[in-house]
Amino acid sequence: MTDSISIQLDQQSSEFLPGSIISGKVIWTAAAATQKIEIRLFWFTEGRGSQDIELAEERSWDAQGLAEQGFEFTLPLEPYSFSGKLISLQWALEAVTLPKESSTAKKIFTLSPNGKELILSSVENSQTSDKKTWGGKLQNN
């Protein structure tokens, strides 16, 4: 038998507020070599900068003898999910079979004051960038 694993969330929406609860269950079938099931709550960055990943919380259970397990996490207050010109930050739940991580499941969600990803648009014609030549271009007040 091969591993399989999935995550089912109790919440219909993938938009969450800081400090709210995210809950659901992990469902799996475990090969004989699989010892544990682990679920991780974490954020990660993508984009121009080298990737940063930070684990917020995790839970694990014995894989054999069970086929599903409920979980509940209280979400941190920050960082918020955002997408900019250089960087994006995403929150995720990931369930894995251990020790080989031969099967994984992931759920991406957003965390912010209104639940939606914050969009950071680049400012055109910045007045203060280091490339800007100052002088003679300020508006009169």
């Binding site: 207050l77 960082p79 900019g84 010109k85 209104n114 950071l120 680049s122 203060t128 007040n141």
Partner: protein, 115 residues
């Protein structure tokens, strides 16, 4: 975020020599990465608000402005390679002298956070 903050400034001398004077509140993304053996930092400005931007010497000497940040932007945040930084940028022009370009990093807290 979500609250107003009062900013006051005062120039100690030479305000009459400043032909242009401005203070901006700026938010920027900062991304660090490796290129070969070098470490590279890229910057992108996502927020820029003029708090004062004037050629009037009377407004240069002293003044105040209210800062109100929108609630749908990112507070300050920093990880190993990436960051969201906020700063007050003072810019000025003095005839026949180098421009003033001073940056003061400030911390923007999330709404309803404990100060």
């Amino acid at each position: 975020m979500g609250e107003s903050v009062q900013l006051k400034w005062k120039t100690l001398s030479g305000e009459h020599k400043l032909s242009h004077f401005a203070i901006y509140l700026v938010g920027e993304e900062e991304a660090k990465y490796r290129r070969g053996t070098n470490s590279v930092t890229d910057i992108s400005i996502f927020y820029e608000q003029a708090l004062i931007d004037t050629k009037d010497p009377r407004k240069v000497r002293r003044g105040e402005a209210e800062i109100v940040l929108p609630s749908d932007t990112m507070p300050s945040w920093k990880s190993t390679n990436n960051a969201i930084k906020w700063s007050l940028r003072v810019r000025g022009e003095i005839s026949l002298w180098p421009d003033i370009k001073d940056n003061y990093e400030v911390t923007v807290l999330p709404a309803n956070s404990q100060h």
